[in-house]
Symmetry: C2
Subunit: 174 residues, 2 copies
DNA sequence: GCCTAATATCTTATAAACTAAGATAATTAG
DNA sequence: CTAATTATCTTAGTTTATAAGATATTAGGC
């Protein structure tokens, strides 16, 4: 019974299942923001900061897609709440680095514990070989999403006249 | 030699890889909303509608975590833009079902094409047995995230005195 | 059947957070 | 040195959210 389901049906089920669980993942993030008492955008910036450590205001704007003005607001709020600190770059004094204050940020990290525990529980029912496959998929998937994001964004940058039918050559920016 | 990587290391890598790709997934969603010219919340509601087909305003509020007043606004905007239509339930005339207008919704669906293509490309490099494993994981994962969301929300309802310490995850080294 | 409570959505006033445009300040190039 | 560029912040106005309560419908107890 190697084909109880056709490959096509399998792929379709996969698509739907992935969509559902990623939607639920988004909602988890919102719930964390709510419990932590900070806005969604602030939370997203914290995530970036926790991953990259020390980032300029401009890069936050770039990554989140917010305007620099909005980022000023985000950083004001997070600084006031004690999560981050502004540090002017001494070699280029226009730049402002935002850096995480670890002790305070750890309070937020706690809210990810239920998620980590749930995932550990799920993974505990898989063999090591299966986990290796999942890891391969997570990495392949990440690359795929990056690719898709680039393809989609090239649509944004295409002037409306030319936008009629979408093509995929990723346009190099910056 | 069945463990080139220890199970623990594997799980940790998985955790990080999943976090990265889901963060990228969130960004894809934002990009779609931007290209489609509708807000993030509106987009989220559209996603729910596309999945469930026909949903009451109250359920949208429940699922998204927005107030019913905010949902009124969301539906007003989407109705005005022609994506959905309000339908009063004849058997309980307090209820308002929101249902998708397929032809118009397809315009949004088109922005998911780059993502679908990227995923198809990824999946094409897996065997059917492997796809079945991925499907199992997607479903298990969804259940896990639901569980985690519930666990997190129970923290909201816990009085602050008892909320003091949650277990921290095993310190992740990067 | 009638009154009260509960449910589902919408309305209003107000607040939060965003954008667009432009001000400020520092750096780089000619 | 001056002009152009870069990075962030400020301001005015808009969008989208909340909280509280209005409106309309249904359900339950007597």
């Amino acid at each position: 019974m190697s084909s109880a389901k056709s490959r096509e049906a399998l792929v379709q089920e996969l698509e739907e299942a992935m969509r559902r669980s990623s939607a639920q993942g988004v909602m988890y993030g919102q719930a964390v923001a709510e419990v932590a008492g900070i806005s969604n955008s602030d939370m997203e910036c914290m995530d970036i900061l926790l991953l990259e450590g020390r980032v300029t205001a401009g890069r936050l704007a770039e990554v989140t897609g917010l305007t620099t003005g909005a980022i000023t607001g985000v950083v004001d709020r997070m600084e006031k709440a004690g999560y981050v600190r502004r540090e002017r770059d001494e070699s280029d004094r226009r730049k402002v680095f935002i850096s995480v204050i670890e002790e305070k940020a750890a309070e937020i990290g706690k809210f990810y514990v239920p998620m980590q525990e749930a995932m550990l529980k799920v993974w505990s029912s898989y063999t090591e070989d299966e986990l290796r496959l999942l890891l391969r998929f997570a990495n392949d998937g990440h690359k795929g999403v990056l690719e898709a994001t680039a393809a989609l964004k090239s649509v944004i940058d295409t002037p409306p006249e030319q936008r009629a039918k979408l093509k995929m050559p990723p346009k190099s920016r910056r």
